[in-house]
Assembly symmetry: C2
Homo-oligomer: 382 residues x 2
């Protein structure tokens, strides 16, 4: 099989071939339950439409051109977000026409590439530094194009972004006056709120963010600066931003897959989020079982990111993934039901950095492999 | 540049080119300080030689054919260990002639590949299951070769391996009597002891392991079974196994790089391990600095594994890496010394799964890029 200009050998660098049964897939492998994935994509498209806001799906979750194009074609996405210039390039190369790098790009070499990208697709970038405006402007002028900029404001995440209000207006004015740049609005992502389990606390955090955004939008309008884009929101909070009347672009990513940590977030009835289903799984095999009450599987730290906790075993409440080392996972099996070579589906603790480890998604429907999607921008951390 | 049959573009999928200064390297990137690396390699070679034991360096740490061959040529290694059949294949393809898969291989398709590998290199595998012996034997016979097997015993790690003593002898006898297999000895790695900070506790754990190994070796001898290989040990304990008079092969891996977690392990004087130096670094750039007391760098969860803790900032006690999200790290900078585009060297919390994320090692000497080593078996989790 050939993809991305390379040839791949099944079982060595490709985990399966089209038509394989799940039991034939070489493990560990990253599976997508295509039915669940498609339902998730549709649900978010419907939600955004119902709220009258655009969806700019976040491609940092999957880094896959196939999925980005699917979200645009079938999932109501107006374009995508990504976090790195290299990701933006990979997606534009595959046919995506509208990309927001929802991040700062300050390295001069990367700025050149970003400016070059504007000649091939609508390209938007976030800014939180005045010197950066000069650098972006110089590059855009060299390529004779216009680079769209959002002023990133810190609405509570405490990471990137200038203060809402006057600091944001000052930066917006500088952008609006810079040759080769266009001020296109605000980036206002409250990342720290997404994984708060309690609904009320999430709601309060986003309400505070909305207030800061509204105040900034008003100040900008008073200076004659319109926000074509007011962007933010993630899978844990999108219904708040979407209904705020202030945000007009949602940047959700994880909704397509979900993960163990997002499944601990609760809705307004105190129940775990259920509008999106787990569609992403690590397929793992049992490869040692010398103790009666535990089995060892082949998915360890090199098969997932455990930053947000260990994975859960899907569909079997008797089994618990209790420990992780480089190439092994320990599965508590108190009833002794597992045998060597049995396969399990694990729900990753955190989907984004787990996807970044794999080269392929194995798309499965009706227990058979339907597609193999390269993780186009895997490892393109640059 | 072309490697592994692919062509690579600097800054996109390759972080640097030969001769670049450190400041020219695209970040985040994984650097090797070649001087420190070479000193580490020499020190372990000298230690093993002084103790009169073989070193079978563990390639799971680096997954790099260049480093494996360097360890064999210049680092006193008799061969390498790896954890996956796909890793073994990648290393044999590159010229390694002696490989121990220090793990169980139970999948029938992988067993076929393992048996095939014996026709190209000395190939050894670990076994902890009687049925597995039948499967290995059948495959070896199909290829008309001999596959060497170590009986893995659990000497306290509580993961894979049969009980020391009679269970191990029974399995060894089965191997010795199986067509196409050769009983070559014991695998007795006490993985749970490696990262225990306290010297006395590590010593006690390994002493207990040595006792179990000795008893098993004696029982095997009484049955006429000799252990050509008694293997185990890691960077945190190798001097105990090496001096035990029972182990004859050390399987250390992390010593070439070290990491933040290994640097918390203490020696007999209560001091942090200092016989090996940090030689592996994540090079990161500051890309946002809107708060006076903290800066944001471009190395987050997709640039490292944080399972064993956050990275440390190398060579600057005023800076602390305090928080990690997908593409960002937060650096506490109480004195406000950092500027946008400044570069930092981070010591990864855990080297093995961090290396597994990257495609390239950037070898640096005298502040210049001297070599680019592909991480040959990256992601080959199969």
């Amino acid at each position: 099989m050939v993809a991305n200009g390379r040839s791949f050998q099944v079982g060595f660098d490709i985990p399966a071939k089209i038509g394989d049964r799940i039991d034939d897939i070489h493990t560990p492998a990253l599976l997508i339950d295509l039915d669940a994935f498609e339902r998730n994509v549709s649900r978010m498209a419907d939600s955004a439409k119902a709220m009258g806001v655009r969806l700019r799906a976040h491609a940092k979750t999957h880094k896959s051109a196939d999925i980005a194009l699917y979200q645009i074609k079938h999932g109501g996405a107006c374009g995508v977000c990504c976090q790195k210039v290299s990701e933006a390039e990979a997606l534009v190369n595959a046919g995506v026409k509208d990309v927001l790098v929802s991040n700062q790009v300050t390295d001069l070499k990367k700025i050149e590439r970003l400016a070059q990208l504007t000649t091939r697709a609508r390209t938007i970038v976030c800014v939180d530094d005045a010197d950066n405006v000069d650098h972006l402007s110089a590059s855009a002028q060299r390529f004779g194009t216009v680079l769209e900029c959002l002023v990133e404001i810190d609405v509570g995440a405490g990471r990137c972004g200038v203060e809402p209000g006057r600091a944001a207006v000052a930066l917006a004015k500088k952008i609006a006056g810079a040759e080769g740049l266009k001020f296109s609005g605000l980036q206002a992502y409250q990342g720290a709120a997404q994984h708060i389990a309690d609904y009320g606390q999430r709601k309060a955090n986003i309400a505070a963010a909305v207030e800061m955004v509204q105040a900034t939008v008003t100040l900008l309008q008073q200076q004659g600066l319109q926000c074509e884009i007011v962007g933010g929101a993630g899978t844990g909070s999108y219904y708040f931003e979407g209904a705020s009347g202030v945000y007009n672009e949602l940047q959700c990513g994880s909704y397509i897959f979900m993960d163990a940590d997002y499944k601990r977030v609760k809705d307004k009835n105190g129940e775990f989020i259920h509008e999106f289903e787990n569609s992403l799984f690590i397929l793992t095999s049992i490869m040692s079982h010398t103790k009666s009450d535990k089995a060892i599987c082949d998915a360890g730290l090199k098969a997932q990111s455990v930053d947000s906790g260990l994975p859960t075993v899907f569909g079997n409440a008797d089994l618990t993934y209790v420990k992780c080392s480089d190439e092994h996972g320990v599965i508590a099996d108190p009833k002794g039901i597992l045998k060597i070579n049995d396969k399990l589906k694990l729900v990753p603790g955190h989907c984004d950095p787990t996807c970044n480890i794999y080269d392929w998604f194995v798309g499965v429907r009706n227990e058979k492999v339907e597609c193999l999607w390269p993780i186009t921008a895997r490892g393109l951390a640059l």
